[in-house]
Symmetry: C2
Subunit: 117 residues, 2 copies
């Protein structure tokens, strides 16, 4: 779990927050996200495809919600879950940053070789 520490006038407040990387770290949750990417579903509909108890899935749903990966709206007795796919941009951004650093590594090597001529 990520812990952010914000400096405050009267001291430090620590806020624990689940992040998107945690949301997609579990294979079951990744399947749930793919299902919801195709359209909103209630919890019972999500459970259908899994060989797992409703409560286990409900816990995953809870995690996904806390990570901001899905939104939930009440419709009668149903809890309709909708994926917030845009949130995955953060993951791609991080990977892109990694790749950029990686590529710059070779540029530096090239510069070194250029200077060595």
């Amino acid at each position: 779990m990520v812990v952010f520490i914000f400096e405050q006038p009267f001291g430090c407040i620590m806020i624990e927050r689940r992040d998107i990387f945690q949301a997609i770290s579990d294979p079951t949750r990744r399947v749930i996200i793919h299902k919801l990417a195709q359209g909103p579903l209630n919890i019972a509909q999500i459970v259908e495809d899994f060989d797992m108890s409703r409560q286990a899935i409900a816990k995953h749903i809870k995690v996904l919600k806390e990570c901001g990966m899905i939104s939930i709206t009440q419709q009668g007795r149903e809890q309709v879950c909708e994926a917030k796919i845009d949130q995955l941009d953060e993951v791609v951004d991080w990977v892109t940053k990694s790749r950029t650093l990686w590529n710059q590594r070779f540029e530096k090597l090239d510069q070194f070789l250029q200077n060595s001529k």
Copy 2:
């Protein structure tokens, strides 16, 4: 942890495998990956920037290795770690798949609206 079950002639073999999503799920490991993306480092050099024991970092290094996210080569008494950035493609592929499903969702809605005319 992911468990893959492969059907075999003489029954089932279950193989436990850490995956790349687990590698990047921890914020400390993400920082380590970014550091290594800029060039190979030994464990002591990685530890330098963290307010954490060497052993804790060594455990993260172990996880990253098991996930195939880094390779380690022995150089004298040093363990030199190198990032395998290409492995992150799997993450991007998964996100891309999610986005594709998401976009198809709207295409289906469009088709529905077209047919309703």
